[in-house]
C-alpha cells in the first residue's frame, strides 16, 4: 500500500537491540497508521497486568498514515503505551516536525520496550539506529536538552527531536513528551513511561521518500482547502474584546448550524486562546476547580486574559508540519521569565487551567506556568487542575501552611500558584504529593480530599465544561483514555459535516434546542459514536482536530485517504475502521483489568450538585444513562462497557477468552 512505509522498528532498550519488522498491507487496511497501528500492536504486545513503568510496557511513537503525502493538516505524531495515570490505554499526540521524521527514517512506528541500564538517547540517521549515552543530558529540562542535541548537528538537515524534562525523569504521572522546543504530547502520563525507560530523547534524521498513490488528487484537495483557509481573515477592527459575543452565540439556548471554516480565521488570528473570553462567557471554561462561575471570575478578571494581550507579545506564528492555519505562536517573554527570551504561546487549555480554574487573572503568571511546564515536562491541563485541587484543599482546611511550606494557597494567589508548580516540577515538599495528579494526591492527603479531586479515571479533564456540552462529558467518561477533550463533543460534531459522507451519522443541519443535548437519546449517543469513530480515523491519519472543526466538506480526509493509499474504500469503510480502533482501545483496557465503569467523570463535572449561578446554573448531565447508551450504540455491553462478541466478530477483532482473555496477533507483525 502507498502512503505507509511498510515497517516498524522494535527497540529493546535493555538488550540494546533493534529489529525492523515488516507490516503487511492488510494491517494498514484494517487499522490505517498512527493511533490505529499503535493500538493493534500494543494490544498484542503489552501483557495483561504489565507495570506501566516497568520493562514490559511498550512506548510507541507512530506517524500518521497521511503524513508526508502532500496532504495538509496531517502532521501529527502519536505516542501510545499503557498509561501509568489511568492504568489503561494511554495515548497523546502532538504536532511539530516529528511525524514526517519517523517516516523519513523508514518506519511507520518506533516501539521501545525494556529499560536502559543508564540514560540514553535513541538516534536514527544515515548510520542507522543506535543508542547513545545521555548521562550529560539527564537532569536537564526538555528545551535545554533539545537545544543541546541540535547543536550536535549544526550542519545540514536539522534533526527532529522528542525529549523529556525532569518531571518525566522523576516519573511524574502527569508528564509528557516535547518536540520543537516545547510542544507537547502531554496526556496519559506518556512522559513518565519514557522516563521509566531512561530514554531521554529520540533523535531522527532520515531522508527516505514517502510514497503517495495519487499525488495530483491529494494536492488538488490541499490546494482547494488552502484557498478556503486563505480567505478566512477577520476584519482588523474585530478585536479580542469582542470575543465574548462569539461566546454568547455558541452558548445560546438554540443551536444554530454554522460553517466550521470560519474557525480557521479565528485560529489564524489568535490560536486557541480566543476561547479565554468566549469560553468564560458561555460557561465552556471551568472555573474555581469546576465549582465556580462568572460570579467568581467575572469580566473584570477574565478580560485581563484577553488574547490580544498575548498576541501583542507574538514575534512569529508557529505552524506544525503541513499546517495551513498556523494557530501556534512564539512570544517574546523578556522581562517576564528570567533568562528566557522566547516561549511558545500558551494554549487555551493552559490559560484556563492556570487562569479561570484557579481564579487567577494574571497573564504573566500564565506565561510563567506555561514555561515551567514546557521545560519540566508537566502536562498543563493536569498540573493546573492539580494546583486548583490543592487550593481548594487549602481553602477548606485540608492542607495547611505547614503542608504547603508556607505558601498561602488561596484562590487567585498568583505567586503561590507559580511557587507550587515549581515544587511539583521538582517533586519537593507538597509538590511531591501533587506531582502525580489529583487522584493520587487525594489518596496521599486523605481527609476526604477526593471530593475536590477532579478527574475521570485518574486523568484530569480538558478545560471544556461537560455541563455546557454533555457530549464532551461522555468522551471524558467513556473514552478508553478518559478525561480527553479532543475526542468528541457537540461543538466539534455540529461543524464536522461527517453526515455528508456517512449516512448513519446523525445530521446536524437545523436549528435545535440546546436542551436536546442533555437528553440520553439514541441520537445523542450516535453523535458521540460518530464523533469518536471520526477522531480515531483522524488520529490514525495524523490529522488535526482543528481541521476537523473546519468540516470534512472542506478538509476532505476520506478522499485524502483514498487518493494517498490508492485504496478506494470510501468514508463508511474508514468510519468502520474508526469503530474498530476505538473498540480495540476499549479491549486493551479490559485486558489490563481496567473496569470501564470506573472511569466516569467526577460528579461535579456532571452538575451534581448543580452550579448556583452563571450560564450553567442548574445544569445537570444524566451521565450514567448517556454513557450506557454510548456503549450500547458502539456494540459494547450497556452495563459493563465491555465490547460484545458479535461486535468483535463484525470488526474482525481478537476473540475473547474468559472476560476478554488472550488474543491472537492483531497487527500482523511478526513475533520477535
Amino acid at each position: 500500500m502507498k502512503a505507509c512505509m511498510g515497517k516498524v522498528l522494535r527497540v529493546d532498550l535493555g538488550a540494546r537491540s533493534f529489529e525492523e519488522v515488516p507490516v503487511p498491507d492488510e494491517s494498514y487496511r484494517k487499522y490505517l497508521g498512527g493511533l490505529g497501528l499503535a493500538a493493534a500492536i500494543l494490544y498484542d504486545e503489552i501483557p495483561a497486568g504489565a507495570d506501566p513503568l516497568g520493562p514490559d510496557n511498550v512506548l510507541c511513537f507512530s506517524s500518521g498514515l497521511l503524513t508526508g503525502t502532500g496532504s495538509v493538516m496531517t502532521g501529527r505524531w502519536m505516542v501510545s503505551c499503557k498509561s501509568p495515570l489511568t492504568g489503561g490505554w494511554g495515548d497523546a499526540n502532538c504536532g511539530g516536525t516529528f511525524s514526517p521524521a519517523i517516516k523519513q527514517c523508514g518506519w511507520d512506528a518506533i516501539l521501545f520496550r525494556g529499560v536502559a541500564s543508564g540514560p540514553v538517547i535513541f538516534v536514527a540517521d544515515a548510520k542507522g539506529p543506535r543508542l547513545e549515552d545521555a548521562s550529560d543530558l539527564w537532569g536537564r529540562d526538555a528545551i535545554e536538552t533539545e537545544e543541546a542535541l541540535l547543536a550536535r548537528w549544526p550542519e545540514g538537515k536539522k534533526p527532529a527531536i522528542a525529549t523529556i524534562g525532569q518531571a518525566a525523569e522523576r516519573l511524574s504521572l502527569i508528564s509528557g513528551i516535547s518536540n520543537d522546543l516545547g510542544r507537547y504530547a502531554a496526556r496519559s502520563g506518556v512522559g513518565a513511561v519514557m522516563g521509566s525507560k531512561r530514554l531521554k530523547a529520540v533523535v531522527l534524521r532520515g531522508n527516505r521518500p514517502i510514497s503517495c498513490a495519487d499525488p495530483a488528487t491529494v494536492k488538488a484537495i490541499s490546494r482547494a482547502y488552502s484557498d478556503k483557509v486563505r480567505k478566512q481573515n477577520l476584519p482588523r477592527l474585530f478585536k479580542g474584546r469582542f470575543l465574548p459575543l462569539l461566546g454568547k452565540a455558541l452558548g445560546m439556548k438554540q443551536v444554530i448550524p454554522m460553517d466550521g471554516i470560519m474557525s480557521a480565521g479565528i485560529l489564524r488570528r489568535w490560536g486557541t486562546i480566543y476561547n479565554n473570553l468566549a469560553g468564560a462567557v458561555n460557561g465552556d471554561s471551568p472555573m474555581k476547580n469546576w465549582g465556580g462561575s462568572v460570579a467568581d471570575f467575572g469580566p473584570r478578571h477574565y478580560q485581563r486574559l484577553d488574547p490580544d494581550r498575548f498576541i501583542s507579545r507574538e514575534t512569529r506564528k508557529y505552524h506544525c508540519y503541513s499546517c495551513v492555519i498556523g494557530c501556534g505562536g512564539v512570544l517574546d517573554v523578556s522581562g517576564v521569565i528570567p533568562g528566557v527570551k522566547h516561549s511558545h504561546k500558551p494554549e487555551y487549555e493552559t490559560a484556563c487551567a492556570f487562569g479561570a480554574l484557579c481564579l487567577n487573572d494574571d497573564l504573566e503568571t500564565v506565561l510563567r506556568c506555561n514555561e515551567i511546564c514546557n521545560r519540566s515536562g508537566l502536562d498543563t491541563i493536569s498540573a493546573g487542575t492539580t494546583v486548583a485541587f490543592a487550593i481548594e484543599c487549602f481553602e477548606n482546611g485540608l492542607l495547611t501552611k505547614e503542608d504547603s511550606g508556607g505558601l498561602e494557597l488561596h484562590w487567585g494567589n498568583a505567586k503561590a500558584i507559580v511557587a507550587l508548580l515549581e515544587l511539583m516540577a521538582r517533586r519537593e515538599g507538597l509538590g511531591d504529593i501533587l506531582a502525580d495528579g489529583t487522584r493520587v494526591a487525594a489518596r496521599r492527603i486523605g481527609k476526604g480530599s477526593e471530593r475536590y479531586a477532579i478527574h475521570a479515571g485518574g486523568q484530569e479533564p480538558g478545560m471544556h465544561d461537560s455541563r455546557m456540552d454533555p457530549m464532551m462529558g461522555v468522551a471524558f467518561s467513556a473514552d478508553p483514555t478518559p478525561g480527553r477533550h479532543t475526542i468528541s463533543a457537540s461543538v466539534y460534531y455540529n461543524v464536522s459535516h461527517v453526515w455528508d459522507d456517512v449516512p448513519w451519522a446523525p445530521a446536524s443541519t437545523r436549528i435545535y434546542p440546546k436542551s436536546e443535548e442533555y437528553e440520553a437519546t439514541d441520537r445523542e449517543a450516535d453523535k458521540s459514536v460518530a464523533g469518536a469513530c471520526l477522531k480515531q480515523v483522524i488520529d490514525a491519519a495524523g490529522g488535526c482536530l482543528f481541521a476537523l472543526t473546519t468540516g470534512v466538506q472542506h478538509w476532505r480526509i476520506f478522499d485524502y485517504l483514498d487518493a494517498a493509499t490508492g485504496e478506494k474504500r470510501g468514508a463508511e469503510a474508514y468510519m468502520e475502521t474508526g469503530r474498530r480502533i476505538q473498540t480495540l482501545r476499549q479491549l486493551f483496557n479490559v485486558k489490563q483489568g481496567l473496569d470501564p465503569r470506573t472511569t466516569i467523570m467526577h460528579k461535579r463535572m456532571a452538575g451534581v450538585p448543580p452550579l448556583k449561578d452563571g450560564p450553567l446554573a442548574g445544569a445537570t448531565v444524566p451521565i450514567g444513562d448517556m454513557v450506557s447508551n454510548y456503549w450500547r450504540r458502539f456494540g459494547w455491553d450497556p452495563v459493563t462497557g465491555i465490547p460484545l462478541p458479535a461486535t468483535l466478530e463484525a470488526l474482525s477483532l481478537p476473540g475473547t477468552d474468559g472476560a476478554i482473555g488472550a488474543t491472537k496477533t492483531a497487527a500482523g507483525t511478526e513475533a520477535s
Binding site: 508526508g68 502532500g70 496532504s71 495538509v72 502532521g75 516536525t97 514526517p100 521524521a101 523519513q104 550542519e155 545540514g156 538537515k157 536539522k158 527532529a160 531522508n207 491529494v218 494536492k219 490541499s222 490546494r223 488552502s226 483557509v229 486563505r230 481573515n233 482588523r236 489564524r268 488570528r269 507574538e314 514575534t315 512569529r316 506564528k317 505552524h319 506544525c320 508540519y321 503541513s322 499546517c323 495551513v324 498556523g326 505562536g329
Partner: protein
C-alpha cells in the same frame, strides 16, 4: 553548462506550512522570511543556497504547489 535550478517560492500561494523544510535532504530551506503578511507568519526561503543541489524535492513536497524550480 546550464545553471543549476533553485526553488522559487510563490509567496502569494504559500501557506507557511513548512512541508518543504524536512523534504530538503541538505537542510537548506528554513522558515525565516517574515513581513509578508499580517499574521507574522514565517515563510520558507533558501537559507544556504550553496548547499542546494536543485533536486526539487522541496517543490515535490509542497502541498499547494507554490515552489517552482527555476534557474537562479
Amino acid at each position: 553548462m546550464p545553471e543549476k535550478k533553485k526553488p522559487v517560492v510563490d509567496y502569494v500561494r504559500c501557506m507557511a506550512c513548512g512541508a518543504c523544510v524536512p523534504a530538503c535532504p541538505a537542510g537548506c530551506i528554513a522558515l525565516t522570511r517574515q513581513g509578508l503578511d499580517r499574521y507574522r507568519n514565517a515563510f520558507p526561503e533558501l537559507g544556504t543556497p550553496g548547499s542546494c543541489t536543485g533536486c526539487g524535492l522541496c517543490a515535490r513536497a509542497c502541498p499547494v504547489e507554490c515552489i517552482a524550480m527555476a534557474e537562479a
